[in-house]
């Protein structure tokens, strides 16, 4: 079976700066794939390019077998891909419910939207309690839940998550990772970017290690967890 996402040798520039120097990887249906690497390695750039916010200079991106390299970001959403961006990027002046509803912007069927809303509330009961609160007043953990809930409202087959554990307390980090597992078990494929490599590898099926714009290592998550170079660079306490 062809992979759900196939990234072929992409190069991405910011002006003159080459941030990705030929990156290839793939994500199969049903997997959790982790992308780990130091700060500035290019993880966020990869996710932005996959979801269409950035365009690669060379290379190709196939999603469900379709070439989406030149497809604008807003069209990729309705193809079943959702992106929970780094730093949450919730609409802080809108209410929690308004944010959640924007996640279903591309959908029309009211009953199906209501169903997704119920699912989101079931996953994140705190969002329902706070649905009329202005999103900017939520705590960091709640904002992360909102960003994830909002992404789930498009009923995605594939979800990209950029450092969902960033700035959260250990307890909340575990909660967020549990939820990612549940989302995956319910049938959504996950591409997870994390600095918290240990946690990421613990829930991932496979992983890629990124170093300054190049993939330096890949394999299944368990073997990477026992890899000495990975241990030294990313898993030291």
């Amino acid at each position: 079976m062809a992979p759900l996402l196939q990234v072929e040798n992409i190069e991405v520039y910011y002006g003159m700066i080459k941030a990705l120097k030929g990156v290839s990887f793939e994500v199969n249906k049903g997997e959790i794939v982790a992308l780990i690497g130091a700060n500035g390695a290019g993880k966020t750039t990869i996710l932005h390019t996959v979801s269409g916010l950035l365009k690669p200079k060379t290379g190709k991106i196939l999603y469900n077998g379709k070439d989406i390299t030149k497809t604008p970001a807003h069209k990729i959403v309705s193809m079943g891909m959702a992106h929970v961006p780094e730093g949450r990027r919730i609409f802080s002046e809108l209410t929690v419910l308004e944010n959640i509803k924007l996640g279903a912007y591309t959908r029309k069927d009211k009953d199906q939207i209501a169903e997704s809303l119920e699912y989101v509330y079931e996953r994140f009961p705190r969002l329902e309690e706070r649905k009329n609160q202005v999103a900017g007043t939520l705590s960091g953990g709640e904002q992360q839940m909102l960003a994830m809930g909002r992404a789930l409202m498009s009923n995605p087959d594939f979800i990209l998550m950029d450092e969902p554990s960033m700035g959260l307390s250990p307890l909340l980090v575990s909660e967020i990772f549990d939820i990612i597992k549940v989302i995956n078990e319910r049938g959504t494929t996950v591409l997870l970017v994390e600095q918290n490599a240990k946690k990421a590898l613990s829930i991932a099926d496979r992983a890629y290690v990124l170093e300054t714009g190049l993939i330096s290592l890949s394999g299944d998550a368990k073997s990477l967890m026992n890899d000495n170079s990975v241990k030294k660079a990313y898993l030291s306490e």
């Binding site: 916010l53 807003h74 591309t106």
Partner: protein
């Protein structure tokens, strides 16, 4: 009674500023640019009404509808042709382009209509009212301006807060990339914003020239600058700010004209702006400027 009359006419003039200021503030909020050609859309709107209703003698309502349509198409076209290619360019380049468009519109009007001042026929056909035994008279234009402006502002507020394209405008204005990740087409949203702003400018131009009937190719310049001032005064990017800023500016202008000096009223208006910005740099209703990493 004199005071009350200055207030009422100030609210009326201020409502016109508010309608224009809404165009500046919405475009700033959503496209992150200062559209200095916005004032000249007012002039185009007024000339369109003049041509349809005075020159061709068609009913005022036809003139108004024609003017709204022409300004909407013009605003959207200007955005597509002149501003859209500059999405990634520096804000200085965009600003210079906007000033260029402004000169272009003024000179096009000069070519078509000549430099002479035209006498605009009011589109308002309601009698003035006399209150307090005739001590306070309010013209039909004043009444129409206030009523029309209030209706437009309520409708616009409902549109922004309760419709999908309105919500898309709010989302794009706060975070363009995050909005795209929701499936919102940013280009469409910017076009909708220019369309609304330009339609409001057409209405404002018609109301303005009905109250102050002198029409020339530079008619839009001064009200444009004042409305821009009103938008900054209220907090650029804020829709309620533009409404409040516009109305306050009209009141301040009329009170200065009435009690201080007609000649210095504009200077007073700008002095008030400077003071407000010194005290509150983001304007009356302005939000903190989000620092993006």
């Amino acid at each position: 009674m004199e005071f009350l009359s200055y207030i009422v006419s100030g609210i009326s003039l201020g409502s016109i500023y508010a309608l224009i200021a809404l165009g500046y503030t919405m475009v700033y909020g959503i496209a992150k640019m200062l559209n200095f050609a916005h004032g000249d859309i007012i002039m185009v709107g007024a000339f369109t009404v003049f041509t349809i209703s005075t020159t061709f003698g068609l009913p005022p309502i036809v003139g108004i509808i024609g003017s709204v349509i022409i300004c909407t198409v013009l605003g959207v076209t200007i955005e597509k042709v002149a501003y859209k290619p500059l999405r990634q360019a520096s804000s200085l380049a965009v600003l210079i382009t906007a000033i260029g468009i402004s000169y272009f519109l003024q000179n096009a009007a000069l070519l078509i209509f000549g430099s002479g001042t035209k006498s605009f026929t009011s589109v308002v056909n309601i009698p003035m009212i006399k209150l307090f035994d005739g001590q306070l008279t309010i013209s039909g234009e004043t009444i129409a301006t206030i009523v029309v402006s209030v209706i437009i502002m309520i409708a616009l507020t409902l549109f922004i807060n309760h419709t999908k394209p309105g919500k898309a405008m709010l989302a794009v204005s706060e975070d363009r990339d995050a909005a795209q990740l929701m499936g919102i087409n940013v280009n469409t949203t910017i076009s909708v914003t220019f369309a609304i702003g330009s339609a409001l400018a057409a209405v404002a131009g018609t109301l303005l020239c009905s109250a102050y009937p002198a029409l020339s190719p530079t008619t839009g310049a001064m009200p444009g600058i004042k409305a821009f001032t009103a938008a900054v005064f209220g907090g650029i990017g804020s829709v309620p700010g533009a409404m409040i800023g516009g109305i306050l500016l009209g009141i301040i202008e009329n009170l200065s004209k009435g009690y201080i000096s007609t000649q210095f009223s504009d200077a007073i208006v700008f002095a008030v702006l400077i003071i407000v910005l010194l005290v509150k740099p983001t304007g009356l209703m302005g939000k903190k400027i989000n620092e993006k990493v």
